[in-house]
Amino acid sequence: MDMLRKWAFEQRAMTAFLFVSSVLTGAMMIGQAYFFVTIVDGVFLKEQSFEDIKPLLWGLLAVMLLRAVLSYLNGRTGVKMASNVKRKVRRMLLEKMTRNPIQSALAGQSGGKVSVMMDAVDEIDSYYSKYIPQVIQTSIVPLMILAVVLYEHVYSGLIMIITAPFIPLFFIIVGMKTKAKSEEQLDKLAAFSGRFLDTLQGLTTLKLFGRAAKQRDLIEQSSLDFRDATMTILKIAFVSTLMLEFISTLSIGLIALEVGLRLVVFESIAFSTAFFVLVLAPEFYLSLKELGSAFHTGRGSMGAAKKVMDELEETEQPVKWGTAEVSIPSIELRNASFQYRDGFSLKNIKATIPPNAQMAIVGQTGSGKTTLLHLIAGLFDPSEGDVLVNGRPRSDYSETAWFDQLSYISQHPYLFSGTIADNIAIGGAKGASRADIEMAAKKAGISDLIKSLENGYDTPIGEAGRGLSGGEKQRIALARAFLKQPSIILFDEPTTGLDLKTERILQQSMAELAKHSTVITVAHRLHTIKNADQILFLKKGEIVASGPHTELMKTSMEYREMVLQQGGTVI
């Protein structure tokens, strides 16, 4: 809320304009009333000729034109202000997301972030396009009208001063009284609104159990319940508008009575003054009432703003980089620890990975294997301890140089919208030739499949690479690595679900890639584990044993148990 306001007032020129145009709008309202009254007075009582009032008519026309122009400019400023904030907020969010690698790299949160970036940002629009301009206008216009009325006829002004506070007061009373009730109703609403979706999603299940017809009545019933609950809330809102209208009608009536009496009985004021006051009074109460609806609009943006704020307040932990070049690296983890706020952690990891080493990381689900792989990859820095590359901290090296040496093949490689060739070429440094790409695809065992497609390498693969199976995506990722020929390959081995062909290709390809590179694998297959020079056995974020397979089988009871127990003999 504070932030929303701050963003509004940061746009000084715009807010200043809103103030100025509100003052002008107020002036135009008063001017319009003045011209109108004078013209009527002129022809009605003073019996002026049409020629006499012509200048007044032109004046009125000008005032009306200006009023319309001002209302356009005011609205336009609001829209522009909203656009500026939305642009700015999206940029801030974007920066946050790209600079804050940990949360982005850890899976499972992306969906929520997409909706923050899209919907939540859009929802703060009305705060700027409607609420702020309205608040500014309402804080100025009634005061101007009041001042003019006080000047013209002090008693009517006093009636306004006395009655006006009843409007906000009434807002507060109604607000307090209905808050509890409407919150209780809101819970109901939330439950109802999901019901229809729930039923649609369960339609297959319903049909399988022969319940689809019965559910129709349930939808109807819950929709009608929904209606009744909503109406309860709306009724409160409508009644409060009704009361507000009564207050303002009553007040206007008071003013009319007072002015009328003075005009007729005491003959102490002129017709024009009385008329003028009567024309302005409704405008006065109207702008006060509008503040109420503006508050309502503004409140809608608050929830969205909170979501955006939460996202922006995430602590940033950017990875540090230097400028040094990387030659074929040896990697050392020296007491490296890493902690993520929901308890995800790696503790005190010690390991040395010489060039061309074959390293396997094993451990139960949730033991931190993938996190360790991310740490080695340089997707985030250790919170304690060091990652050394060729004896120097990794942060000494340039980001580009480091990632140029690295490939990462995850269980779910991401395919971007573009052609197959584009998706493989993303692995290569710059401008890989089609021949290189085809060669890489061949090595990854996917060239036959690509050739069988109508458009071959130019086949578009859609958003998130839809249309390719898990095994095929894996092979595209392999092709990326073959094209890149990195000196370090990080590999998250798939557990199940691959076809035999992909299994074989994966094994062959990994062996091929391993000839010239360091390979660090989150390993699930005994085959990979047995071939590794060194195994890191992780448990709850700590290395409980390390060494080659044969050695671990002898030295680590836990490791031995795990291998024997999980070796396909259960049940």
Partner: protein, 570 residues
């Protein structure tokens, strides 16, 4: 427009509330015009120093108008909103009725998961149709015509001016803007789509983008599409503001013209000066009713779009073809597939190719294979959820297309990969299995799947969000067991359940299914030793079949898969 007609037809079921909305809307409009006309007249009359009682009477009338206006505004709001929500309810029900015969095939046609959310959203957005598109113009016209009729009594010229104003602000100006509105809207929608794709790619592909150093480029691209989208929205917003301002200006101009015309008529002696203020007040007030018409094009466009999208989904012909043959109720049936091929809509690759399958009544069959090999599709075809493109499927010897879909579903216990649980209680979710289930039966079923820690009263959140994957699977198995049919079709029913519990549940399940036909799609290769038949699939074809021992001795595909499974840790 044809879709909008469907909506209007549905709306008409609520005639009474619609009539009330219009009635009170008109009353509110007229009393408000009356209120201001009266005040204009009163002040002018006062100037002529009438007796006090006249002023008193007029003030009282004024109050009455004020109160009547507020109350009818309240009633209008009340009835129009109530009508809106009732109409929404009718829409939901009618849409649901249209959707039911199309499920589940429709979900395959639109594979994207947000289809349903979109349906719900579109129905919701139609609430603006009645509230902002349908009845306000009717009220507007009635109020205007009555007012114009009233003013003819004083000056035919003023009346004509007001009429011209009605045509301009109520119809011509909105119509002019409607043309551009549609274009801008569709542009913005496209820009939004582009942004959404970029955001999704950046977030889901973050790691790959980072490592392949494409993050900066993507960031720039995203920044650009974000700006484009906001630019579009800005155009849209400014267009709406312009639209409103122009309409308001036209209204003001008309009132100005009424004043100028009135003043002229007064000076010419053709109109009593007493009525001038009143006429101008009438004009200023009556156009307040017309200003909301400026937003009419936007709302119309939105409703039209929502209606078109909704009804395009259910437009296709129903898949139920009135086949009426029933499967025998009391016994397990056999299943055969002969040369069956199937392709998912919009995909080139065959999902299933020339499948031969023979499942004897009362036998136990497992289907295994890598993910994406077509295992689940076989089950879905056997359930007649989709129609095979080629080949014959026979259940109990009868061609599947001669059988009523409902009859197949009634005779099978099905556990799918995704089983839906409804908002409510465990009891409610189990009750859908069969009519007349007792608590005791349901509790036994829970015990059978080792969920006896749950009570029947325990709440289930939407989509079973408060249940773990394993709990949902077990609940689905319990539900299938309660149904008590004699054919079981199980699609990876235990993939999230640990091996020990899985074994226990399978023991219960196979005991219950002793004499029944059972097909189990399985991702694990363990526990298949007792199966009568194992079918191995790859890339949409059956590549091996036989008993466990036969397949192991053959040392083919199954054998190799088994070797790999043995060597996979964790």
């Amino acid at each position: 427009m044809k879709d909008v007609m469907v909506v209007i037809k549905l709306m008409m079921a609520e005639k009474r509330d619609i009539l009330y909305s219009i009635l009170f809307g008109v009353l509110a409009g007229l009393t408000s015009v009356g209120l201001f006309a009266m005040s204009g007249y009163m002040i002018s009359k006062s100037a002529l120093a009438p007796p006090l009682y006249i002023i008193t009477i007029m003030t009282a009338t004024l109050k009455m108008f004020g109160v009547a206006k507020s109350i009818s505004r309240y009633a209008e709001r009340y009835f129009s909103h109530r009508a809106t929500f009732t109409i929404l309810s009718n829409l939901r029900v009618s849409f649901y009725e249209k959707l039911v015969p199309l499920a589940p095939g429709i979900f395959q046609k639109y594979r994207s998961g947000d289809l349903l959310a979109r349906i719900v959203g579109d129905v919701e957005s139609l609430q603006n149709f009645f509230l902002r598109v349908f009845y306000p113009p009717i009220v507007l016209v009635i109020v205007f015509l009555s007012t114009i009729f009233f003013t003819t009594y004083y000056s035919i010229y003023v009346a004509l001016t007001l009429f011209a104003g009605l045509i301009l602000t109520g119809f011509i100006v909105p119509a002019l803007f409607a043309l551009r509105q549609g274009k801008i809207d569709s542009q913005v929608r496209e820009e939004r789509g582009a942004l959404s794709t970029d955001v999704t790619e950046l977030l889901y592909g973050f790691r790959d983008l980072k490592i392949y150093q494409k993050l900066d480029g993507k960031e720039k691209q995203l920044g650009k599409s974000a700006d484009l989208y906001v630019d579009g929205q800005e155009r849209e917003g400014i267009h709406a503001v312009f639209n409103q301002s122009v309409n308001a200006l036209v209204a003001l101009m008309i009132s100005w013209f009424v004043l100028a015309l009135g003043a002229y008529l007064v000076t010419e002696g053709e109109l009593a000066g007493l009525f001038l203020a009143m006429l101008v007040m009438i004009s200023l007030t009556v156009f307040e009713n017309a200003t909301p018409m400026a937003l009419f094009p936007a709302h119309l466009e939105e409703s039209r779009h929502a209606a078109a999208r909704l009804f395009s989904i259910v437009e296709g012909k129903s898949e139920e073809e009135g086949s009426s043959d029933q499967l025998s109720k009391e016994k397990a049936y056999s299943m055969e597939m002969d040369g069956v091929s199937y392709t998912f809509l919009g995909e080139k690759r065959l999902t299933l190719e020339n499948i031969q399958l023979n499942i004897v009544a009362g036998s136990k069959t497992a289907i295994v294979g890598p993910s994406g090999s077509g295992k689940s599709t076989v089950l879905q075809l056997l359930l007649n959820m989709y129609l095979a493109d080629q080949g014959d499927i026979r259940l109990d010897g009868s061609p599947i297309d001669s059988l009523a879909q409902e009859s197949i579903w009634e005779r099978t216990n099905v556990v799918l990969q995704e089983n839906h649980f409804f908002f409510g209680t465990i009891r409610e979710n189990l009750m859908i299995a069969k009519d007349g289930l007792t608590d005791q039966e349901m509790e036994t079923a829970l015990l059978n799947v080792r969920l006896d820690s749950f009570s029947l009263e325990d709440p289930v959140f939407e989509k079973g969000e408060n249940l773990s994957g394993g709990e949902k699977q077990r609940m689905a198995i319990a539900r299938a067991m309660l149904k008590g049919a004699h054919v079981w079709l199980l699609d990876e029913p235990t993939s999230s359940i640990d091996a020990v519990t899985e074994k226990q549940i399978y023991d219960q399940l196979f005991e219950a299914a002793k004499d029944d036909t059972l097909i189990l799609v399985s991702h694990r290769l363990t526990g298949l030793e007792t199966m009568d038949q194992i079918i191995v699939m790859e890339k949409g074809s059956v590549i091996e079949s036989g008993t466990f021992d036969e397949l192991m001795n053959k040392k083919g595909y199954f054998y190799e898969m088994k070797q790999i499974e043995k060597s996979v840790l964790l």
